[in-house]
Subunit: 568 residues, 2 copies
């Protein structure tokens, strides 16, 4: 787990470097942000030659501990103009761990001859022509790549929208079944990958084993403890595994935090048609290829994912997640899980972030392109992206640009990126995160929904967001999913113990927190060098002036307090 | 000249305030920027309720001295996110001066009942319904408004694109003949006016006289001196009056600074078909309604404007200016003054800035929407804006957004605004201005083409730009056009003498410079509070990495030096 693969796409040169000791505990987001900050000019054009795209596995990649194999991808974002890390499940990072690869750095741009594939196995790392996959959809390309390289390879790839440099394009990763639906969705990283001329990264861990750990006995003990914690956790069993993230619909709707009709209110009159109960019921009733519970990473014990089937029991999409339900469902006034899941699949297949596309459809609805709640027209709008029409281009550029082009005043975005499915007036800590995060509006940058605060009060939100940003960064460094934090009841010493057992170094939670703090500081510094400042950290004005009718409050956390968040 | 008209559009309340003594010498850009800075939240949504739109006349408005009656319009720009002032000729500011109005401040947004007209005369100031002009083109609306209010009124108005909140929309002003072609074009101020629900401002100075001056005898003497300077100036006679701004084509083409094919080179092989000589020849040959020389402001002695006729001698557009020829001509590979002037007219009629539209067409050409040099398709593309199709919306949102939506990597814009027609690698002082100006890429913010520097060398450019930014700001405060500076051979003491004679205060050039310095500082501070910083001041990366083949150099002025420009 100490190799960095550096790929110069202009010359086709591939170098492997050994991680220096200083970098021993830099993984995941800590590593992507460190490399981007050290090596990329903050003033660069994100889609130009000097931006870099960095894949990094987390601290425990390759180990078969539950929830520890997320893949971080980092770059300067063309959507936000900031530094960016976006992470996802799937099997890619686990295979990186088994191949001993901590990071892959893509530099420059393929100079001619069309898109390429980077192929990594224990025997070789090589670039291959990918012309035969040019402009192919994500599922088609993934199927063909698996047919060519084997069913068990991991694939990270972009769809036609990434190749077209659409700013809402993400990077898809295959899950344990080869389904390319685990998305590093946010920040337009798919357009960066497309700009570099990389269609896919294929990773084959055939013939490898789990990486060695420093203290095998201790590792087994910690792993067992983690397993016990998760297996015995009632919240995991009764909520995460049963309803997945979709369980949140009921909660946010009751909190007045479920974005509805382009963030004009916080509850949806048809919420019961798109909530976790209904999702569960439909999967149950339709059965077939459907599944209530599915692991996004091999070895996951929480299995919060799902597979949503149609009436004939045939898979529409897997997983169908809360953010997609919120942004494409209630926020567009769409009350059908069938429609939401079909749009979700279309987005996945085109290579798009469902949050920014949901936001774009909603602003298009506000502009009168189609009506709120018009499911058929919403499906057709996404088809316009596939046909690459001009309205398709507008939508595929994400909600911020779509709103600007269509003349919409109310655009729920921070630093160019559409907010996820939590109204910042109803969960004000998340409003602070949206405004102050180093990467634009992003719930995974500092989720406060479980924080012990009065969510509609301005009090304590900066502290809650600061704490959440730190914890989330720590998890992103570990390659650990957010639900694991609940699974282990925030006993983060278990993560520190894992570090001790894997790396043979002393580690306390404070040490991990220190890396997270340092990472946040590096990111903030990059953004400052890119031209942002504390004064860039605010929400769109309408959240300060328009009441959310469900909670009867505007966003009223003090701007001065927010600006102190990174300088406490 | 000491009244401020404050219009609360939400309530329809109109108040007049007297200018306090502190504000005596604050006019034009100094006044718009001071008011915006004092009264507008820098974090506000530029198209939302809390932004304001300020019209201000210059220090000598109402006087019949040559070149002193430009109108400044200021706001927070939705295109750049910065503070913005854009100024134009026409008769509006002269009439403001005669009515004793220094500024008009539009606050909030018309709450219902559609767009309105603000009408000002010596007897009344009132809001009137403008529904009958909704979505009308600029020329149609101006004609009807003149038919209704009289041929001699001054009109400032927006076209359908301003009403649609298109980010490349400007504000048109009528010239002395009532032709609505004097544009406050830049920064999307037309969309701000549209967002407020103001279709037009109509100003009627019937029954008024030139404003009193403090020292009539001295005023006449200074006026005479200014007149003599301009009348006897050979550059004025042989260049400005004869060829107008179009005379620049030959110069910039020879310098390698004429943007060609989306800023991919600095000279155009067909330049002789679109230069000042050809313009002169065609106007001469076609005669009819054409005119080599035309005054944009009443009383102007330079008369750098023109009226360009078609083969039958019928007016196509007036004026046809250098920036339009550069951006819509060479930068799009279009080699016909007929086509350029037709596109210019269409833009004027739709209410659009020709610089940002030229930039948008060029990036669309780079994206393959149409071919470089395809005149017919370029005309049709502008017709798409009239039809309000999606590609029309994309183009009307300006070159930056158009490029982002269409997946173009090379977008020649700073802070969201397309560069005017000077390649920053060939005239590096202008590159410094584009990067560091308080309002995005704008030549009028600091024109260095006549600076005594080696334009392709990085040396001395920061100083040249600093000096030019100061001079240009001073002129913008005086309401004086840039050509007057040449007309009076930069003897700015004449402007100070005018201040003395009009206001009865002691004034030296240093006093005017001090107001300009203070204005720049206020603007910079506003931008900092909006989230910009010195680190926001850079050119798009391709100017640093791609050589301009005509001058064989990249942009290489030190970033560190540029960042010191406002803090010397």
């Amino acid at each position: 787990m100490n190799t960095i693969v550096r790929v110069d796409l202009k010359t086709g040169t591939i170098k492997t470097e050994q991680l220096s000791d200083d970098y021993k505990l830099l993984a995941g987001r800590a590593l992507t942000s460190k490399i981007i900050s050290d090596e990329v000019d903050p003033a660069c054009d994100p889609l130009g030659e000097s931006n870099k795209l960095v894949f990094a596995s987390g601290l425990f990649a390759g180990q078969t501990v539950s929830c520890v194999n997320r893949l971080s991808i980092g770059s300067k974002s063309p959507l936000t103009g900031t530094i960016k890390e976006s992470n996802a499940g799937g099997s890619f990072a686990l295979k990186m761990g088994r191949l001993g690869i901590r990071a892959i750095i893509f530099e420059k741009i393929v100079s001619d001859g069309g898109p390429q594939i980077l192929y990594l196995s224990k025997d070789e790392v090589k670039l291959l022509p990918a012309n035969e996959y040019t402009h192919q959809t994500v599922y088609d390309a993934a199927t063909r790549i698996r047919n060519r390289f084997g069913e068990k390879v991991g694939i990270s790839l972009v769809g036609p929208t990434g190749e077209r440099l659409s700013l809402a394009a993400g990077i898809a990763n295959t899950d344990k079944d080869g389904r390319p639906s685990r998305y590093c969705g946010r920040g337009g990283l798919g357009s960066v990958m497309g700009s570099k001329g990389i269609k896919a990264v294929v990773i084959d861990d055939d013939g490898t084993e789990n990486p060695m750990v420093a203290n095998e006995a201790y590792f087994k003990e910690v792993k067992k403890e983690v397993t016990q914690e998760i297996v015995n956790n009632e919240q995991v069993a009764n909520s995460f595994t049963k309803f997945g993230t979709a369980g949140l619909v009921k909660l946010t709707n009751s909190m007045g935090a479920l974005p509805t009709h382009n963030f004009s209110k916080g509850s949806f009159e048809k919420a019961e048609l798109i909530n976790g109960d209904e999702l569960y019921r439909l999967i149950d009733e339709r059965s077939g290829e459907g599944a209530h519970s599915h692991a996004c990473m091999p070895g996951c014990l929480i299995k919060c994912s799902n597979i949503f089937p149609d009436e004939q029991g045939k898979e529409i999409v897997g997983p169908l997640e809360y953010e997609t339900i919120g942004l494409i469902g209630s926020n567009c006034g769409i009350d059908s899980l069938d429609v939401i899941s079909k749009i979700n699949y279309k987005c996945n297949n085109l290579g798009l972030d469902t949050i920014d596309i949901g936001g774009a459809i909603a602003v298009a609805m506000e502009a009168g392109v189609i009506e709120f709640g018009d499911s058929q027209k919403a499906l057709e709008l996404v088809d316009e992206i596939e046909k690459d029409t001009y309205i398709g281009r507008i939508i595929a550029s994400g909600g911020k640009r779509a709103g600007e082009v269509l003349g919409v005043r109310r655009i729920p975005a921070c630093k160019g990126q559409i907010m996820p499915a939590y109204d910042p007036r109803a969960i004000k800590g998340l409003g602070v995160t949206y405004a102050t995060s180093t990467m634009g509006a992003d719930h995974t940058a500092g989720q406060t929904i479980r924080a012990q605060v009065e969510h509609t009060s301005p009090e304590g939100q900066v502290e809650a967001s600061r704490e959440a940003q730190l914890v989330n960064t720590m998890l992103d460094i570990c390659g650990v999913c957010f639900f694991m934090a609940s699974g282990i009841k925030k006993n983060f010493q278990l993560l520190a113990n894992l570090v001790e057992s894997v790396y043979g170094v002393k580690c306390k939670v404070e040490n991990l927190e220190a890396i997270a703090e340092k990472t946040l500081a590096i990111e903030k510094d990059f953004n400052n060098r890119a031209g942002f400042s504390d004064a860039s950290d605010y929400l769109p004005q309408f959240f300060y002036t328009e009441e959310n009718p469900d909670v009867k409050t505007v966003f009223d956390v003090s701007t001065d307090d927010m600006r102190k968040i990174h300088n406490h």
